[in-house]
Symmetry: C2
Subunit: 408 residues, 2 copies
Amino acid sequence: MLNIQNARIAVIGLGYVGLPLACTFADKFPVIGYDVNTTKSRQLAAGHVSASIYGEEALQRALNCGQLKIAADISETATCNVYVIAVPTPADTNHHADPSLLLTACGMVGKLISKGDVVVVESTIAPGMTERLLIPRLEEASALKCNRDFTVGYSPERINPGDQEHTVKKICKIVSGSTPETADFLEQLYGAVITAGTYKATSISVAEASKMMENSQRDALIAFINEMQQVCTAMDIDIKEVMKAAATKWDYIPMHPGLVGGHCIPVDPYYLIDEAARYHVPTPMLSTARKVNNGMATWYAERIREAATRRGGNKVLLLGFAFKPDCEDVRNTLVADVFRELCRWGFSVTVYDPLVNAHRVQDIYHINVENRVPPLDDYAVVAECTPHTCFHDLEQCPAVQSRLVKLY
Amino acid sequence: MLNIQNARIAVIGLGYVGLPLACTFADKFPVIGYDVNTTKSRQLAAGHVSASIYGEEALQRALNCGQLKIAADISETATCNVYVIAVPTPADTNHHADPSLLLTACGMVGKLISKGDVVVVESTIAPGMTERLLIPRLEEASALKCNRDFTVGYSPERINPGDQEHTVKKICKIVSGSTPETADFLEQLYGAVITAGTYKATSISVAEASKMMENSQRDALIAFINEMQQVCTAMDIDIKEVMKAAATKWDYIPMHPGLVGGHCIPVDPYYLIDEAARYHVPTPMLSTARKVNNGMATWYAERIREAATRRGGNKVLLLGFAFKPDCEDVRNTLVADVFRELCRWGFSVTVYDPLVNAHRVQDIYHINVENRVPPLDDYAVVAECTPHTCFHDLEQCPAVQSRLVKLY
């Protein structure tokens, strides 16, 4: 019988979603966390997190009170009866859904579950994928039958990396289950630790679809304002002034133009586009939004080229490499595309970002990022790609002001 | 010198924008209203308005206290020194901006203005159109020079037809001027009667662009949720449940799918699309949103056809013809397209809408609308196209319930 009194939770995947969730569950339940990256696991077991956003303090508290254990091997979670899977669901280089990490995790978890267990997926996927892909994988690996021997839940993560306000406990948590009892159980389980409360969706596919809709809507809203920026710039109208004026209407949604990077907004719509295609439903709004937002890197590069050409110079300094301000995260950053376009056009490009890990950027993108301000006099153009707060002061200095291209 | 103490205001165009504005200005200033439709003018002069949304009481109050006069001929406004133009700016049948009514109004006003006068445009237009089209027309007709002899302002109307909450006085009013003095003057003039306050835009083009951005964003948001409805329906997921779940996230914007009609949302984006094309800027988000929203009529018709085919019947009853709920307005209603598609496929279609003027619908669309409920037993399918409140009770009756197709 499902009862939160006896819940022993395994969290599979200890990234920006799994780790804070594991720490949060540890407030009330015994938790074992597992990550396939053994270096990371060792660091976590020692109370260290590589990125500040995860909350080192919360990790140490959970470890010290003995409620959280970091497993070196996934077999250590075999005593658990609730498995929460929080692994990334990226897109491949052709912009198609790549749920292979999630399927691997399901295969691993499937080997560990026993009768009565619950498997909860937090990873973002398209509606229908839990039933179509994940349950068969769990059944295959476990030789058990879903809804007879074990049950499944879906509770989409809503973490906003770098957001200090909307932390896991403060975000309403959607829960759903393959049986009504599982949905009720998960509502109690998450409800015990999430202070913002839970919302029980009527089915797993509704919960899956809601996450798709949230992030795809955001992508569309940003694509819209990016398109407006292109139009206004061509017409020599300051988009910021237009945004201020429009914001005085009660139903206008204030949005900022910018480069859409990261692991969520520029990825999730591809899951929905692919799944809709299986049903032969065209998704022109989703596809257009993705194209417009991806195209902003070239548009930025063109603005920089124009400015450099006007000033007769060849050397460009880009400020910022992270995908969002005040964040060290470089996943899917479009600044890499801005960089590559400018290089392709023959510019000599330097990137300065004091927040990102330069070694990591070198490994992933083969791009050299400076963590210290380079000599500014060298450059024809300075362009801010990521509006880190730390650039505010820099932009006040006359050497930058005279070279600055405001991209947004 | 511009001084609101001496302002004598002419309002050109007494539709859903001009009439409430004229009545509002009459609280503090002498106002003469003019409309090219002489039948309407006579009715208004007698204190009668054809549509309830205009506020007959406010009109009668303004007329009775002598502050508002309805002119039979535009020459009666020659003594005025502020001309507010509030005429429609529709799109033509090929979805291109058709500012001819506005240009005609500028030609008429141009003949009446004298030195020191101010011409304010409230009609929705694309950024740059005041300067590119309207000022030349005013100069030509008046043989006066803008910013030397007269000045121009732009203050976009933000009226939401049928909305009892956001009435003209309660909506923040954007003002802008061809000179800083004109912008200041208009801020005082509108500020004297608009209790929600004013917002002074930095230029006329910023004010023009802000209106475009507000309504085009709304079109895009509705297109997005319409696309989601198509996807969810194909996947057999209840979009309403998905909407409820998504609405529990702090940054999700709740929107309803539906047929986008009327004189604003499905028209304004074409002005921006056309103007952007002049600058060779592609606008895929704007164009896709328009296509998706226009395509919803066919999608609805297909859902109705499916249901009728399942039930083996040929007779269809459509509930609602107005473009929005609880409103008698039929301008650009997509229910006409739903009707035509179904007729084209050989269905016998009846439309029931107790709110619309059946004669007007016959004149514009050559479609017969019933103002009384037809015998329900006749129909294979009943489909609600406009969610008027008055349909709630009707839908509870068993004869409707057994035939109802829920389109959203």
